[in-house]
Point group: C2
Chain length 409, copies 2
């Protein structure tokens, strides 16, 4: 049977966002142990139990890789080995292996009986700024509408270092940060709770293979260094950010929290969904030469308290993952397994596809209507922000799981 | 005997930069094992052997803390316990304990027979910008001499996130980075080796106690969260930085390498050397209220190939360690054990005390004379940059060890 038409004997998987073609990786706990797991439909698959009972075998694999607080050690086994393990999972759980379903069910746990955790220990986290529409919108609002993009933007994927310690998993409450803000232009700053709390809709990628310090990753090899993709909300305190960010960039306006989805989606699972990106003009320097299908066609949605406020897509990104990674390492900067890079806010060409409240409410001038009749220009205490991401073809869908956070005071 | 007049039976310690009052902590290897160590004069003290032979005892201490690639696990034992262990070391190696010197010598290794390593596994690295003279110099050179400091600078310690993965220990060669630079203003960028490679003279501090996400560290408690100080060279590619840094701050111009000295000097050892800082006007907001003696009087020197090019001092810093840490966490950002914060370039009021070549050669207009008759405006391949730091009173000196890097192409 053709791979794209393959079904699982786990019936809730078929047609769901977690079909047998997805098989994301994450970390969950149940019965007081943390393990590496995957998901099929409404079930978690316990890879450590499968390994202990000899259903999985790849070179170098030991129980410590699968009974672990994070995926990093497992990822260190290498892309080829993990692709191989993925094929073993597909074989085990496909309809063609229904005869073993009784036995294999003992390695499945209902999703409701597990807690999902931050899947990786992030060494360094980098945030890019790769949506032309987002950079243009911000430039229009805060700088010069006639010269919204700064001179470097079309030549390189602008990025900066973020905070790794405050990356949390979906479901973690987000405490409204305090700090210095300026209430009116030209006045002195005051200490205050943030009054302009925002989300940023982003897609991240996780490093699966290191490069040594001093050795750039050529653009043709970049995807061999990427383990998979993860949905990302880069919470932003706009008023703190606005006052602090010159000349060294965002700091406390960003580093109080970022939320990731619990699952990492492998590039194997996304290979069917590559697509062209926007035309790049001027032509990038050779070390940034893009492949023809450099982007992924992944649909993105943001909800505030169940009101859909944004529909975007990773295909809008001007700079691709490959270009980001080639640029990040062109100076010899070393990436380690588990390092995380995020795209920056993903805004599309339509106002409905803007990836932040700053843009959706256009600096407070266009309040966003909620289903309950209220409006928002920034987030209020108690608001729940939910992001989802999925991609689909005529045979199946691939979901990322939810990226959720509730604002608390 | 008064502590400040105490001598060690290790004769090379007395009068050296590593007297019994210093006892820094680091990681070294010899005989194919990595261990936690201290230094006295010309000798490394192997703390793991001392522990194994029952000379050291603090609650919770196990061999794994002392046979370790990094100090992080050891630091997690807590400041009180580590202060206690420090007192045990002082007792063992003081002249008053000379009777045990024969026995204890078997736990000492000549400094020449060890390799010193990066002492901590850095989770997150933050770089501040806390020298008013440095920020002013940069502002004069690149922005507006009449308004050299940006509006936020006197209100908060400006900082940004740097790269943890590329922090290396003293002695590691520094490969000249390549990247995008603009050869003449207004022209298109080219891919090139960096032509404006610089050092930045900085002092770092290492986090010794975590705070939870969402829980700021009040300024009065900040020093309880600091394990010690470390000398820091934040290598900078000025041409890469100049093109890339708007609007999100330095990235590839900095993240190709930073070098730290091998030793962490405890706040206990530096307690005698606290001093006032520059007058702060306007008065900082309450969460940044400084203690009266907020700075350390630590002398700093930079050599290029044995030519002394800068003499500075940490006392010049406008924003103190306490203020940096209180600000960093005011929004709830969490610090983890081993996280590293650096001061930013430490420039003093005199031209001879500027902490970078950018300032010393004033943007290339005042070439720096070398002892061999050549000059420098930026670093050349083969140049060796050496930084040292020490503090002294009438009885003893405390040294940080050297922070060295050679530029290779």
């Amino acid at each position: 049977m053709e791979f794209s038409q393959l079904k699982s004997w786990v019936e809730s998987a078929n047609g769901s966002l977690f079909p047998i073609q997805n098989l994301p990786l994450g970390i969950c706990s149940y019965n007081n142990k943390k393990i590496v797991c995957s998901r099929l439909g409404d079930f978690i698959i316990d890879l450590s139990l499968l390994y202990e009972n000899n259903f999985l075998s790849i070179p170098g694999l030991e129980l410590r890789h699968l009974q672990n607080d994070y995926l990093n050690d497992f990822i260190s086994l290498g892309a080829d080995n993990i692709s191989n393990l993925r094929k073993q999972l597909i074989r085990l759980f496909s309809v063609e292996n229904s005869t073993q379903s009784g036995m294999l069910q003992s390695y499945m746990i209902s999703i409701d009986d597990c807690i999902l955790h931050l899947p990786i220990s992030v060494g360094d986290y980098t945030d890019f700024y790769s949506s032309k529409e987002h950079a243009t919108n911000v430039g229009i609002m805060f700088r010069d509408p006639a010269n919204a993009l700064l001179p470097n933007w079309l030549h390189l994927p602008v990025g900066y270092h973020g905070r790794a310690s405050s990356i949390v998993t979906s479901g973690t409450d987000i405490k409204r940060p305090a700090g210095q803000i300026v209430l009116k232009d030209g006045e002195v700053p005051v200490y205050s709770k943030c009054k302009q709390l925002d989300f940023e809709l982003e897609m991240g990628f996780v490093i699966g293979k290191e490069n040594k310090l001093g050795e750039p990753i050529p653009i043709q090899e970049t995807l061999n260094h990427v383990f998979g993709l993860i949905l990302f909300n880069d919470w932003s305190a706009r008023d703190i950010q606005k006052w602090e960010y010159v000349p060294l960039g965002p700091f406390l306006g960003k580093n109080f929290a970022s939320t990731v989805s619990p699952w990492i989606i492998s590039l194997d699972a996304l290979a069917e969904f590559k697509t062209e990106g926007p035309v790049q003009s001027p032509t990038p320097l050779e070390y940034l030469s893009p492949e023809p299908l450099r982007n992924f066609d992944i649909q993105l949605e943001v909800y505030i308290n169940d009101t859909l406020v944004s529909k975007s897509n990773t295909k809008y990104l001007y700079w691709s993952i490959s270009q980001q990674l080639a640029h990040h390492t062109v100076n010899g900067c070393n990436m380690r397994i588990g390092d995380l890079c995020a795209s920056g806010t993903i805004s599309g060409p339509e106002a409905s596809s803007f990836g932040s409240m700053l843009e959706l409410a256009w600096k407070g001038t266009k309040p966003i209507p909620m289903n309950d009749g209220s409006t928002r220009v920034f987030l209020q205490d108690g608001d729940v922000v939910k992001m989802i991401a999925f991609t689909e073809n005529k045979n199946y869908r691939i979901g990322f799981g939810e990226c959720i956070g509730k604002i608390v005071s």
